[in-house]
Assembly symmetry: C2
Homo-oligomer: 246 residues x 2
């Protein structure tokens, strides 16, 4: 049967989600726990690669296994074998043709900023520290320009190759919670580094470098040079992946 | 001149705030940064010792120094010399007779609980994970019994010696924020382990082991055996220390 896992992890000490040479990936650690539990090497399929230092509260991975363990209990058995910085939040059986990446998905990300003189040591690994004043209302106004279907070529890491750079954004807003500013975005797909480049651009707008309307101009430029810098990885959290067809 | 520091730290890797043999304390690291900055060994006076693994967002330390650095700039200079898990949030000059511990103080603590099936890897070091259902409203009703002046002998670690076990509590409440339950308490002093024993007792009440009124009975018993267990250190955060007379 095919098992779907909802994964949360602190990405600080990992070289991203997906296995690759010369770095410890979340996938490596997960597959070791799976091997430990089922006594066989099982390859998993992940929904989102997430970069080095990026966190997740709702990444998704799947694998096939024949077992008598009830699907919902697999989460408990895996958590007993995983380090504290990775948790399986839920496990369930899905259709054998379910694929976490090739299926239609809606993803939600948050980018967290702490906007005060000094960082907070308790949350330092999960937010970007920005010392100077940021106007969250202006950032929010700017974020509205990306709502709907657009060509996001300006917000893709250069060298990125994909069939299309058109994506649809269903939710994009910026709000302040005390010293924190949160950029929340939900869409049908994101180009490589897209959320971090959006965040880096919104920070420039919040700092007053450009007016909110600059966002539309950047979109129309379809050129990475037009947008702001890529915001640091530690502020990014993959919150949720929805599967509308599953 | 006497300098007062407001300190925030992630207590995870420290053996508490105060220097002692065979462990790395926050004070050790702070005094090393101070020595680095002023080129002399300077002894600091801390307001609250905080136990191993306990965190702070508002501990206070003082020291005397002759320097031409503006008092408010000392925070910046120390942060450049401190590890990421300790931050000086503010530095200021205070009266030479100000002492962070012997002065009258009002302290605020929070105890954080994550109440769901699995812990959250992003906040795992800053909250206690409790799997079973907790009734925050019952915990809140129980917390109200400690408001005002009481003898808290039941909530002091055994072996604790102090002139008096009477303390005054100005605020004591429990509230839920999604999966989190927060116990917030503000008072003119706390006995050793008092907040953690209060938290451990409130968790038993929230789990339905006792009704909220049990809290009054425990207070009147003046016996550590009457109260619940000491909740784990990682959930405790020293939020603020006020000096009404300073």
């Amino acid at each position: 049967m095919r098992i779907k896992l909802i994964l949360a992890y602190d990405g600080t000490r990992y070289g991203g989600y997906q296995s690759q040479a010369n770095t410890l990936a979340v996938q490596d650690v997960l597959e070791k726990a799976i091997e430990d539990l089922f006594h066989e090497k099982i390859r998993t399929m992940g929904a989102s690669r997430t970069d080095t230092g990026v966190h997740a509260e709702g990444n998704v991975a799947c694998f096939d296994v024949e077992t008598r363990i009830a699907p919902a209990k697999i989460a408990f058995a895996l958590n007993a074998r995983l380090p504290e910085d990775i948790r399986v939040l839920a496990s369930s059986e899905v259709s054998p043709d379910f694929h976490p990446r090739f299926q239609r998905t809606v993803k939600t990300y948050e980018y967290h900023i702490i906007n005060r003189t000094f960082p907070d040591p308790l949350t330092r690994n999960f937010e970007f520290h920005y010392h100077y004043a940021l106007d969250a209302a202006k950032m929010d106004a700017a974020a509205r320009f990306i709502l709907g279907e657009h060509d996001f070529a300006s917000f893709a890491a250069s060298g990125y190759s994909s069939k299309t750079t058109v994506r649809t954004i269903y939710e994009a807003r910026v709000f302040r919670e005390g010293d924190r500013i949160i950029f929340r975005v939900r869409g049908n797909g994101f180009l490589y580094n897209m959320v971090r480049i959006l965040a880096g651009t919104l920070i420039e707008i919040g700092a007053g470098k450009y007016p909110p309307e600059k966002m539309e101009e950047i979109l129309l430029a379809k050129n990475r040079q037009a947008a702001g810098p890529t915001a640091v990885a530690r502020g990014l959290i993959l919150k949720q992946i929805e599967y509308p067809d599953a």
